[in-house]
Every structure is written in structure tokens, then in C-alpha cells.
């Protein structure tokens, strides 16, 4: 089951529970998010008795623990750690684990389990944790022998953070937590069957450089893989873009890997991407995809996806290649390694791109840019959600800001209007689209960066899914800012109902909303409400200046829709702009309606 190094016969004798603490400390873990319960009490006892090597953060719901660990991991590049009990503790963690799997976030989640002799007996708070989490983790373990525990714990970290990162569950029965065994940190963690490939094939990278040299309309399309690969990958990407002069766009997950303030940045692509990014995708003759996976939110209609392009795809996960879109040149490897080779080869050959063609390409791109696809009708009476994000961005510049989001319209507006120049500053639930992600994620980010300005850009519907974590933020004095774009609707659901279901707003109205200001006060936090554009700046400044958790109830236009938008069943070059909203209903095919 485990790697074969170390046998659990050398080292110091201790209980399984103590081994958990030792192993976490040996892995350099400083914070662990969790919630106690019967089957995990020995580990909590060991936590109580340890000498401040680990800080435990008590969440209010296990889903919050995993999201907090995700925020922690995404903003630091470290592994996020979670400790929950058996049964409901484990099942509550499942949403977070699935979220981490979809977005490739390294998480180690330790779950308590009923004693081994009761497994399969329908014992109190028993569930088949490894069975339930098998499809939503990168790997999981049930430890039935104390001698296996040291290796399993360290291997779990190795698997979580190496290759394509992901969540790993270690299920530890209560008797194993009490059992005594020998603990030593294994010298090396090697798994025979698991060896992610980091270096890309040299000949293929050379071929890629050749294709890039001769491209007429090239485009970098990058994703979360660059962020996961580490800050070095972002640095190398910037270098490669500078060397080649090619335009660059990115997925939702990849924002910040390349600076949004750079003129070569086209903005995000995909369903709510910019006009210029999506048109460039459609018209390019060479697509250089690095650390992205041709997700359906990106490609739109597949048979019309970038029809004139040849495609290079760099990914650490071979199963991401040729899954949705057939590519011409696959390169399996870690983004930073492959980018390093690309930069070196380009430099070594003193290559130049096809400058004349590239100038024409940029001319075309500038025409698309001139459409100003993110434009919206401003208002003096109501706060437009886009305006709120723009002001938030302007007023938090230079303040070391980290942004998390929930899921929906506000998330897309945040992606469009809040600009990132650095990686690891943007934490959002992309793959799974988990409402309720942002608030607990902000808790994790703030814990990792105590002096930073951490803001959860939220919707009034999403934020209520994990609102209980305000209590966590207050307990640990984490001054997170919950910036709610309150449009009194599940906005993205309402938008689709407006466009696809004849304006029949089934259950998407946020009824009986709480008074968010009073709610903040009830949590001993600070509440601020603003519903006038003229007062917004002052209110945001007040929010920033408060050194406590804040819930900011930003009352916005309830009818605003998120544009640009590629309607269901359409291609990149058929995207709709804000002005076209009235005729949008005719633009969606019957088949498209099914596939929202």
C-alpha cells in the first residue's frame, strides 16, 4: 500500500495520534483547519499536548475547513491541511475535496474512522470514507496497521503536491490513533507506480519553437497549471511573451500568471471572456496552450473551435491532452520546466518571430479591442456591479490585496474588472463552481498572509452557504472583507432564465434576505451598507481601514447581466456584447438550451 522505504521499526515510539502531529510538523505544516468529533479525539488530544508547532483553526463546518485549506494552499503554494472526524465530518468535507480535485489544489485531509473492528458494522458515525472519497480525491488511504502510518502520511503529502496537485484523504481508525508504533520521517518518498513526468520531450519543445518562429497569428492560451507550477513558471511565461511578442490570454484559473497591466494581455477568454481574447482564439493560426485543459467553458462549440489553428499543448497530465480537442503537438511536462526549455532554446537560436505578420495580427487585435467589450451603461442612481468592482480594484491598488470569490455573476465581473499582476492572488472555484467557496477561502488566505488585504467578492446568495465561517474569522481575528454584490438574485441563474427560459424566474429570487449589517454585528464584526454610487468610494475606504472582519452589503442593480457572453451552442466568433442583450433569445439554439 505504501512506499517501501522505512518499515516503521526504527525511530521513536509514539501513538498513531502523535505520529499525525509529528508528520505534519516534519512536513512544515503550520496551520491545520478542522473540527473535532468522537473518532478523531486522540489526534485532538495530541494537538492539545503539542508545543505550538501547529496551529489548529476551528471552522464551523467541515466544508469550510477544506475551502479554507484551499485558499491557504492557492495563495502560498503549500499543501493545505484538514482534520475532520468520521461519518458526517468526512461527508461534509466531500464538496471541498471535489472542488480541490477539479482545480488541482494540493490538500491533505485526515479523517477519523471508527475502530477497525467496527468497520463495516454500521457503527455510530461510520461511513465508507475511502469509498465515498475515491472519485473525488487524487488518492486515498485507509490505514489499518500502525506500522504503515508514518509512510502513508508522508506519501500523502508527496502525492498531493507533486505532478498535477490534488486532494489526498488519509482515513485513520480510532484504534490506530491509540496504537503505539515507531515513527521516523522516511528519507525519501518513492512510489513505484507514481512518477509524474516533469521534463518535456526536447525534440517536441524544439518543434514547438519552430512552429512559434513561423507563426503568423500566434496566441498564448494559459491556465491554472502555470500557477500550480509555482512563481518560477509565471516568471518564465513573462519572459517568453516578452521574447516572442505574442498576445496572451488565460482561463479563469490562470489569472495573475501574466500581468493584466501588460499591453500583450488580452483579458480572460471563454464564455464571459473579452471580445479580443475570444476572437484571437478563433482566428489564430498557432495556439500555444500551457497548463490549461480546453474546458467546455473555454472552447464553446467544439467543431468551430479555432478552426484555422495548429495547437501546441503543454500539460503535466497526459489525460488532459487530446481529451476534448485534438492537438498537433502535445508536450507532457511541468509548465516551469517546459517554459524554461522554450526560453532557453529561443534565446540560444536568437530567434525572431515573423515580425511583419505579427504586426498585422496586433493591428487586427487592436480593432477587436476597440469594441470595448466590457463596456456597460453607467448610472448615477444605482450601483452597477461592474462599477463596484472597478472602484474596489482602484481603491485597493498597492495594498497587497488577495481576492477570493463565490460563484456566479459577481465571480465573472471580478475576473473581468479586477486585474491581477501577480500569481497566487486570485482564489476562485473554477472547475466545480462551488457557491460558498469564497468566505472560508478568505479565512485560509488571511491566516497565511496576516498583513494582507483579503477580500471575498461575493454574491448575497453564495455567501449564505458558508456564512457561519464569519465566526471563525472573528475568533482568529482575521480581518477578511466580505464584499457582497447584493442584487437580490442568484444572478447567473436569473440571467440564464432571462435568456433561455422566457424570463420565468423559478426560485432564483433571494427571498427573506438577512440584514447583512446586523448579521455582521451579530458576529461581532463590522457591517457596512452602500446603495448609492456617489457614496461607494467612501464606504470602500472605510471597509479597508477597519482592522476587523467586515461584511460590506453593496446593493447593486438587480437586472444587470454579465457580458460578453458566448451563448450555448455557439462559437468564439459568435459572442454577444452587452448592447445585443435584447436580441439574445433568438441567438440560442434549442439544443443549446439543453446544454447550459
Amino acid at each position: 500500500m505504501t512506499s517501501k522505504t522505512g518499515t516503521g521499526t526504527t525511530g521513536r515510539e509514539m501513538t498513531g495520534a502523535e505520529m499525525v502531529i509529528e508528520a505534519l510538523a516534519d512536513q512544515g505544516v503550520e496551520h491545520i483547519f478542522g473540527y473535532p468529533g468522537g473518532a478523531v479525539l486522540p489526534i485532538y488530544d495530541a494537538l492539545f499536548q503539542q508545543s505550538n508547532r501547529l496551529q489548529h483553526v476551528l471552522v464551523r463546518h467541515e466544508q469550510g475547513a477544506v475551502h479554507a485549506a484551499e485558499g491557504y494552499a492557492r495563495s502560498t503554494g503549500k499543501v493545505g491541511c484538514v482534520l475532520v472526524t468520521s461519518g458526517p465530518g468526512a461527508t461534509n468535507a466531500v464538496t471541498g475535496l471535489t472542488d480541490a480535485l477539479c482545480d488541482s489544489i494540493p490538500i491533505v485531509c485526515i479523517t477519523g474512522q471508527v475502530p477497525t473492528h467496527l468497520i463495516g458494522n454500521d457503527a455510530f458515525q461510520e461511513c465508507d470514507t475511502v469509498g465515498i472519497t475515491r472519485p473525488c480525491t487524487k488518492y486515498n488511504y485507509l490505514v489499518k496497521n500502525i506500522a504503515d502510518l508514518p509512510n502513508v502520511l508522508h506519501e500523502a503529502f508527496h502525492i498531493a503536491k507533486s505532478g498535477r496537485p490534488g486532494p489526498v484523504v488519509v482515513d485513520i481508525p480510532k484504534d490506530i490513533q491509540f496504537a503505539k508504533g515507531m515513527y521516523a520521517m522516511p528519507k525519501e518518498i518513492a512510489h513505484k507506480g507514481y512518477k509524474p513526468k516533469l521534463k518535456g520531450d526536447r525534440d517536441r519543445i524544439k518543434a514547438a519553437i519552430e512552429m512559434m518562429r513561423h507563426a503568423k497569428r500566434p496566441l498564448f492560451y494559459t491556465g491554472g497549471g502555470i500557477i500550480n507550477s509555482g512563481p518560477e513558471a509565471s516568471k518564465l511565461l513573462r519572459e517568453l511573451v516578452k521574447l516572442t511578442g505574442f498576445p496572451i490570454t488565460s482561463t479563469l484559473m490562470g489569472l495573475g500568471a501574466f500581468p493584466a497591466s501588460d499591453p500583450k494581455w488580452l483579458g480572460m477568454l471563454g464564455m464571459h471572456g473579452t471580445w479580443e481574447a475570444n476572437w484571437a482564439m478563433h482566428d489564430c493560426d498557432l495556439m500555444i496552450c500551457i497548463g490549461a485543459r480546453f474546458d467546455d467553458r473555454i472552447t464553446g462549440r467544439l467543431d468551430a473551435f479555432a478552426p484555422h489553428s495548429r495547437k501546441i499543448h503543454v500539460d503535466i497530465d497526459p489525460s488532459s491532452i487530446n481529451k476534448n480537442v485534438k492537438v498537433d503537438l502535445p508536450i507532457v511536462g511541468d509548465c516551469a520546466h517546459v517554459l524554461e526549455d522554450m526560453v532557453r532554446l529561443w534565446r540560444a537560436g536568437s530567434f525572431t518571430p515573423d515580425k511583419k505578420a505579427l504586426a498585422d495580427w496586433w493591428k487586427q487585435i487592436d480593432k477587436w479591442r476597440a469594441r470595448k467589450s466590457l463596456a456597460y451603461k453607467s448610472s448615477k442612481d444605482v450601483i452597477k456591479p461592474q462599477y463596484a468592482i472597478q472602484r474596489l480594484f482602484e481603491l485597493t491598488k498597492g495594498r497587497n490585496a488577495y481576492i477570493t470569490t463565490e460563484v456566479g455573476q459577481h465571480q465573472m465581473w471580478a475576473a473581468q474588472f479586477f486585474h491581477f499582476d501577480e500569481p497566487n492572488r486570485w482564489m476562485t472555484s473554477g472547475g466545480l463552481g462551488t457557491m460558498g467557496y469564497g468566505l472560508p477561502a478568505a479565512v485560509g488566505v488571511q491566516l497565511a498572509h496576516p498583513d494582507a488585504l483579503v477580500i471575498d467578492i461575493a454574491g448575497e446568495a453564495s455567501v449564505q452557504m458558508t456564512m457561519q465561517e464569519m465566526s471563525t474569522a472573528v475568533q482568529y481575528r482575521l480581518p477578511i472583507k466580505i464584499f457582497i454584490l447584493n442584487n437580490q438574485y442568484m444572478g447567473m441563474v436569473r440571467q440564464w432564465q432571462e435568456l433561455l427560459h422566457g424570463g420565468r424566474y423559478a426560485e432564483s429570487y433571494s427571498h427573506s434576505l438577512p440584514d447583512f449589517v446586523k448579521m455582521a454585528e451579530a458576529y461581532h464584526a463590522v457591517g457596512i451598507r452602500c446603495d448609492k454610487p456617489g457614496e461607494l468610494d467612501a464606504a470602500i475606504k472605510e471597509m479597508i481601514s477597519v482592522k476587523k472582519p467586515v461584511i460590506f452589503d453593496c446593493v447593486v442593480d438587480p437586472n444587470e447581466n454579465c457580458f460578453p457572453m458566448i451563448p450555448s451552442g455557439r462559437a468564439h466568433n459568435e459572442m454577444l456584447l452587452g448592447d445585443a442583450a435584447e436580441s439574445i433569445d433568438e441567438a440560442i439554439t434549442e439544443e443549446g438550451k439543453v446544454m447550459v
Binding site: M1, V130, G131, R134, P135, K138, Y139, L142, I159, H191, K192, G193, Y194, M271, D296, R297, T299, G300, R301, L302, D303, A304, D317, P318, S319, I321, N322, K323, N324, K326, I566, S568, G569, R570, A571, E586, A587, T589, E591, G592, V594, M595, V596
Partner: protein
């Protein structure tokens, strides 16, 4: 495309490609739950399993060999192999259908009931198919037959009118021809 034949935001079914049958040999750590991981991958991602066999083949290394016969378009088959290789306890995946000449065999036990001429006929056919009698009574036989799946199919079809009672089959196992190992 508004009156269109295809498309939505999700990838359309790859109708242009033909469906192929492939036999995959998968070398895995023989640990608890490993078969569940493989089967869960197939059911979770909507792949087909036509045949599945599994047994530990290298006891000292605790390695098991799983043989899976699956169907899909070339792109789906490629995806299945990549997804399998991604699973942590999986060491190797070999596609026996493309990796060179391979032998595929199956074993079946076939119970036939009958009297008089039917018994004689059953034995005669079994002899022709090189099936062995592994249990015999006054009213029944159990035959053991090994071979390619279509041979077993024909044998079973012939036994049906004679008095076929029950069939138990192992599913396909496969190995490459020649001196090289997996």
C-alpha cells in the same frame, strides 16, 4: 448553425469516429480498493467494460494484472488509457490491440443436461471443440473449454438445443506473442 445539426457548449458526441474494441492489460499494486478505482473510473466516466479479469500475478511484488476489454472511439480509447495511467496504484497500461500480436483466451465451464442421443451428441461436439469433461453424471456433463471468445460462443450455441443449463466464463486474458515481457 441556428438551425444547426450539432453543438452546444459541451463537446458533441464524436460521431465521425468508428467504435473499436480494445483489450487493455493493466498492472496494478494489489492493494485494497484498487479494483474499485479501476471500475469506478469506467462507470464514472461512462466507459464500457465488455470483459474484466483480475488476479495477483506477481506475489512477491503484490502486483495484480487486470485485463479489460472495452469499446470506444479512438479518442475515447486514448483517454481511457491516459486516465488509467493517472491512477496512483497503476504501474503500466498496455493496449494489447495495438502493441503487436497478442493471444487472447477465455475459459468457460458449460453444464449440459440430457439423456440418450443428446449425451452422445454433446460428447461428440465437445471432442470436436477439445472441451474436457470435468464432471459427469447420469443426466449431465460439465465441460471445460478454453479458447478465443468466438470459439466459446459457438460451442455454447451448439449446446443450447442439446440441453444447456448453465455457463460460467472467466472473461478474457491476454498476453503478447514473442519473447518480450510486459
Amino acid at each position: 448553425m441556428a438551425n444547426g445539426t450539432s453543438t452546444s457548449h459541451y463537446p458533441a458526441a464524436p460521431a465521425a469516429q468508428g467504435i473499436e474494441s480494445h483489450t487493455l492489460c493493466v498492472l496494478v499494486d494489489n492493494e485494497p480498493g484498487v479494483l474499485a478505482r479501476v471500475i469506478g473510473l469506467f462507470s464514472g466516466r461512462g466507459y464500457n467494460i465488455d470483459s474484466l479479469t483480475v488476479s495477483e500475478t506477481e506475489h512477491e511484488k503484490h502486483l495484480s494484472r487486470i485485463t479489460i476489454v472495452t469499446r470506444g472511439t479512438p479518442m475515447v480509447i486514448e483517454q481511457i488509457k491516459n486516465q488509467l495511467e493517472r491512477l496512483v496504484p497503476i504501474h503500466r497500461v498496455i493496449d494489447m490491440t495495438v502493441s503487436g500480436p497478442a493471444i487472447q483466451r477465455e475459459l468457460a465451464m458449460v453444464k449440459v443436461r440430457g439423456k440418450g442421443d443428446n449425451r452422445v451428441e454433446a460428447l461428440r461436439l465437445a471432442d470436436a471443440f477439445r472441451a474436457r469433461v470435468i464432471d459427469a453424471g447420469t443426466e449431465s456433463f460439465v465441460f471445460e473449454i478454453t479458447g478465443a471468445s468466438d470459439k466459446i460462443e459457438s460451442f455454447i450455441a451448439l449446446m443450447l438445443p442439446i440441453g444447456l443449463v448453465e455457463v460460467s466464463r472467466t472473461g478474457i486474458v491476454a498476453i503478447q506473442r514473442g519473447p518480450e515481457g510486459m
